[in-house]
């Protein structure tokens, strides 16, 4: 077993960059600050690639496959002899894969941001937050135990909050950042309770012990049964609630569209490629426990993922803000990954869904980051987010146009682009597990192609609008990351994922099932054709279709009124029937007691302060009369 201690540097370098830029950044020239942030991530990326190469090449043992390695670990909190909280670095196929994803996308976003954020007064602040985010996310994926993961999970939430609210002068951005933080924090409560229950049943936080098929978690078969499911299943469902909050699964998705208030590179990094897949990573990390210990919990994961994916895809067809379309698309694709994990089993052929989910996570990170960065370049050029304010941009922005088109074809699942392979594996896994879920995903594949090409035609085709100035291509510092990611989108599908990232570490034999691959490509093409007919040149068809499906269109356009439902539940029910009585109690009973004590004291002091008149003779008079009275008392007594 080789020494991987140096992987500790991968999260630590961004952390020190964060400290440096956060404390000293205001003294630097913006370009220098950007360069420091970027080069910090660049070193991290190189180290990650080296680690991935070494791990996947040299750690494979015939017969047992890839093992997980604890590269580094210290005891951070020694609570009792049996209960300690450790911090460390865990190297195994999924964490190495996530290292590559995070550092690649983060590096691209850093380079891109040098161009995108040029001239912004908070340039160094932006880069220090990006570094903080990278540190937290890398710490999250390298966590050796679930408690460390929870710590970094919250740090990721904080950095997301800071970056969504980056434009803190804008009230909408502030509201969006608070919403994102509160919703995910609410979900994290479930995660925390889940951790406590899980460690109560199993007696450990450590991932290696937890996921060992012969370990206490799985061997216990879940302990006491509550409402038809074991304690273990309940704890895993609660952990999944935390994952669903971060990954924007229904019904905790409401923060994600609003999170698009942040700068576009942030949306690409956090709300498309890395942070939102933390939930998928969490389930994948605990996958043996889910699959072998509590399959019930896995069904919940599958159905939540499936429902979220179709729910978001329908909404995405009706939105007009390009970043929101991409946000709902992200939610839909993460639904795919969750579903794929949910239908998977552990080990061998059964583990296809697990592999497919991680594969899709990888390809999705590439093409979705590309889409967001492309959208950022477009927004940079035309200064609006609304699709109705765009059109005909292909003449002005050739690089952006081509790379965006590549990403759209990729997400539509057309071979030989990468998402074809990963999506196909997911559909195969779903087909062999549950036909209804397969049908949902099949429809979503068509919808995805449709709304992505609606977006594509809306931006790059059609008539020119009245622009403030002639749109121009973004500078090279922005287009080069686009090209790198486009390269990744095209070729990531050829990586031998089935040999590298599997549920049990052993290579998996996969073969393209044409019975599923051909229809899925066809429905993708169908979606593209419909979008071409409807949106390539501006026609009256979209309005007619919207008119025919009036109610459905209206509901989907208003995001199925989920925000309103939340407002109703919080304002009308929680505020009125829980918060207000508590506030009344606090204001009148708790504060009343305190104010009462203070009031009595004050009243008394006002009443007796007249004695302190400052008149010498009055004092003397009181003194002497007191003496006389005392003398009379003593004379009377004795």
């Amino acid at each position: 077993m080789a020494d991987y201690t140096y992987t500790l540097l991968i999260p630590l370098i961004p952390f020190f960059v964060f400290l440096l830029l956060g404390l000293q950044g205001h003294k630097m020239k913006p370009f220098i600050a950007g360069l420091i942030g970027t080069s910090g991530l660049g070193i991290g990326a190189i180290l990650s690639y080296a680690t991935a190469f070494r791990y996947f090449v040299s750690e494979h043992v015939a017969g047992t496959g890839y093992t997980s390695i604890k590269a580094f670990e210290v005891t951070w909190l020694h609570l009792t002899d049996k209960l300690t909280i450790n911090l460390g670095v865990l190297i195994d196929p999924i964490s190495v894969m996530m290292l590559v994803v995070i550092t690649t996308v983060s590096l691209m976003v850093h380079i891109y941001s040098i161009g995108y954020m040029k001239g912004d007064p908070g340039f160094y602040r932006f880069f220090s937050f990006l570094s903080l985010f990278s540190f937290s996310m890398l710490g999250l994926v390298l966590a050796t135990n679930i408690f460390q993961m929870y710590i970094f999970w919250e740090l990721v939430g904080v950095s997301s909050f800071l970056l969504i609210g980056y434009y803190y002068e804008k009230p909408s951005a502030v509201a969006a950042s608070k919403k994102a933080f509160i919703v995910t924090r609410f979900a994290d409560l479930g995660f925390l309770i889940g951790i406590l229950m899980l460690s109560f049943t199993t007696g450990t936080f450590d991932f290696q012990t937890l996921t060992n098929p012969a370990g206490p978690a799985i061997a216990s078969k879940g302990g006491a049964v509550f409402m038809g499911m074991s304690l273990l299943a309940w704890s895993l469902i609660l952990i999944f609630v935390g994952g669903a909050g971060k990954s924007a699964m229904f019904p905790l998705h409401i923060w994600l569209p609003d999170a698009m208030e942040g700068p576009t590179p942030v949306s690409a990094l956090i709300h498309a490629a890395t942070m939102v897949v933390a939930g998928v990573y969490l389930v994948a990390r605990l996958f043996p426990v889910y699959a072998l210990g509590a399959p019930d919990a896995l069904h919940v994961v599958a159905w939540v993922g499936g429902f979220s994916s179709i729910f978001a895809a329908v909404i995405a067809c009706t939105q007009t803000d390009i970043k929101r379309i991409l946000a709902f698309s992200t939610m839909s694709q993460i639904g795919y990954m969750m579903l794929s994990l949910g239908v998977s089993g552990f080990g061998g052929e059964e583990g296809l869904g697990f592999m497919a989910s991680n594969f899709h996570l990888f390809t999705h990170a590439m093409f979705k980051a590309l889409l967001f960065l492309g959208a950022g370049a477009v927004i940079h050029a035309v200064h609006t987010n609304e699709i109705t304010g765009m059109g005909g941009l292909r003449k002005y922005m050739p690089f952006t146009h081509i790379t965006f088109l590549i990403a759209c074809i990729t997400i539509a699942g057309i071979p030989p682009f990468s998402a074809f392979f990963s999506k196909d594996e997911i559909l195969v896994a779903a087909f062999h597990s549950n036909k209804l879920l397969f049908a949902i995903e099949f429809i979503v594949a068509g919808l995805t192609a449709f709304y992505m090409f609606r977006l594509y035609y809306g931006i790059f085709w059609g008539k020119d609008r009245h622009y403030h100035h002639t749109p121009h291509e973004a500078p090279y510092v922005m287009t080069v990351p686009l090209m790198v990611l486009a390269f990744g989108s095209i070729f990531a599908g050829f990586l031998p994922f089935h040999n590298l990232v599997t549920s049990d570490g052993l290579p998996l034999e996969t073969h393209t099932e044409w019975m599923i691959a051909i229809p899925s490509v066809l429905i993708g093409l169908l979606g593209i054709i419909i979008a071409t007919v409807m949106y390539k040149s501006e026609t009256a068809i979209p309005d007619k279709v919207a008119g025919t499906l009036k109610h459905l269109y209206k509901w989907a356009h208003r995001k199925f009124y989920m925000d309103e439902v939340y407002l109703f539940v919080t304002r009308k029910i929680i505020y009125r029937y829980i918060s207000e009585p508590i506030a009344w109690f606090d204001r009148h009973i708790i504060d009343g007691t305190m104010n009462g004590i203070a009031g009595v004291t004050q009243y008394t002091s006002v009443a007796i302060k007249e004695f302190q008149s400052g008149k010498l003779q009055q004092y003397g008079y009181v003194f002497i009369s007191g003496t006389v009275i005392l003398v009379l008392i003593f004379v009377y007594l004795f």
Binding site: K609, E610, Q612, S613, G614, K615, L616, Q617, G620, Y621, I624
Partner: protein
């Protein structure tokens, strides 16, 4: 002769002086007069000391010496008091005790 005067005579004088002093202290508005009243009180006590010493313990001299100490301390005390009164006069342009009520609530 002095032996023919009974002790009660001294005590009556001293009591009168004491209450005259208290009356003066409480009713006079002039600080100097108040100081004089305080001296009256002190001296009434001195008379008591001397008289009791002479009539009850003629062989001993503690009462006399104690009186001498009180006189000395009273001299020092009136010096301090007069210094205070002068300062009050400089601040308030008056020695009326009614004006000196800054130290209230």
């Amino acid at each position: 002769m002095i032996q023919n005067i009974p002790l009660s005579y001294y005590l009556v004088i001293s009591t009168l002086m004491f209450f005259i002093g208290i009356y003066g202290f409480l009713t006079r508005r002039n600080l100097i007069t108040m100081l004089m009243s305080v001296e009256l009180i002190l001296n009434s006590v001195n008379i008591n000391f001397v008289a009791f010493n002479r009539y009850l313990y003629p062989q001993q001299l503690q009462g006399h010496f104690f009186t001498l100490i009180v006189v000395a301390v009273a001299a020092a005390e009136s010096a301090v008091a007069i210094a205070i009164i002068i300062n009050i006069y400089r601040n308030f342009k008056s020695v009326d005790v009614e004006n000196v009520d800054e130290m209230k609530y």
